[in-house]
Symmetry: C2
Subunit: 110 residues, 2 copies
Amino acid sequence: MLWIVYQEKSAAIYAIEVISGKWRLPIMLELSVHESMWYNEFKHHLDGISNIMLTRALQDLETNGLIQRKELAQLPRHVEYSLTAGCQQLLGVLDMINEWEGFIIRLYHP
Amino acid sequence: MLWIVYQEKSAAIYAIEVISGKWRLPIMLELSVHESMWYNEFKHHLDGISNIMLTRALQDLETNGLIQRKELAQLPRHVEYSLTAGCQQLLGVLDMINEWEGFIIRLYHP
DNA sequence: CTGTATCCAGTCCGATACTG
DNA sequence: CAGTATCGGACTGGATACAG
C-alpha cells in the first residue's frame, strides 16, 4: 500500500488501490443497484462472503470515503450503507469498461 | 483470482483484477508515455523494482493481453515491450480519473 | 542484456466461534 | 441484527544469487 509514494501519485493509481480486493468492487456494484443496503442484505446478495470479510471490506471502503455508514437507533439494530458521491462518479467511469461489448475479447485478439 | 466467477463476471471487475498489483499500473503508465521500452529501461524508470518483480509483472501483463513482447534477435539481447490496443483503451478510461481535479479531495469531503 | 531460482516475510482471505 | 476474536492457509512482494 506504499507503492503510490515513489511513483508520482496519480488519482487513477490511488483509485485502483482503494477498490482492489476480493469483495470491494462487488459490494460497490450491489450498492449502485440498490441505493442503500443493510448488513445482512449483503450476505444474501454476495454469495460466499463471511461476516469477517464483509465487515472488513465495509470498514475499508468507509475509511477510504467510498461508502457511508448510517446507524439507525433501533432494536433490532439496523445499519444502512450507501455510496458516496465520489464513489458514484468513480463507478460511472468504470462502467464505461462494461459498455464496450467484447472488451475482453478485444484484449486477447487485438 | 477466482472472485469473478460467482459474481456475474463483468468486464470492469475483470479489468480491475488484471491491473491490480504493485507494479502493473506503473509499468503500463510508463509504456503509455514511452511507446515502447526494453527491459532495463523499466529498471531505470521504476524506482526500487527488482528483476524478479519486473519479470513477473511483465509476464502477467502479457498473459492478460495488456502488453506485447517482441524479442529482437541481437547480441546483446534486446526485448521490446509495448501496450496492446485494448490496454490503451483501458488506460484512456482510467485517465479520466486523473482529469478530475480534486477527485481524492472530493472523495473525502463529499 | 534479459531474465530464472530460492527462500522468506508480510498481507490478504476465510472458517469457526462468540458478543451486545 | 450487526458485528468481533482467533488462528491458520494462501497469495504477493522482494532480497539475493545465479544463468544464457
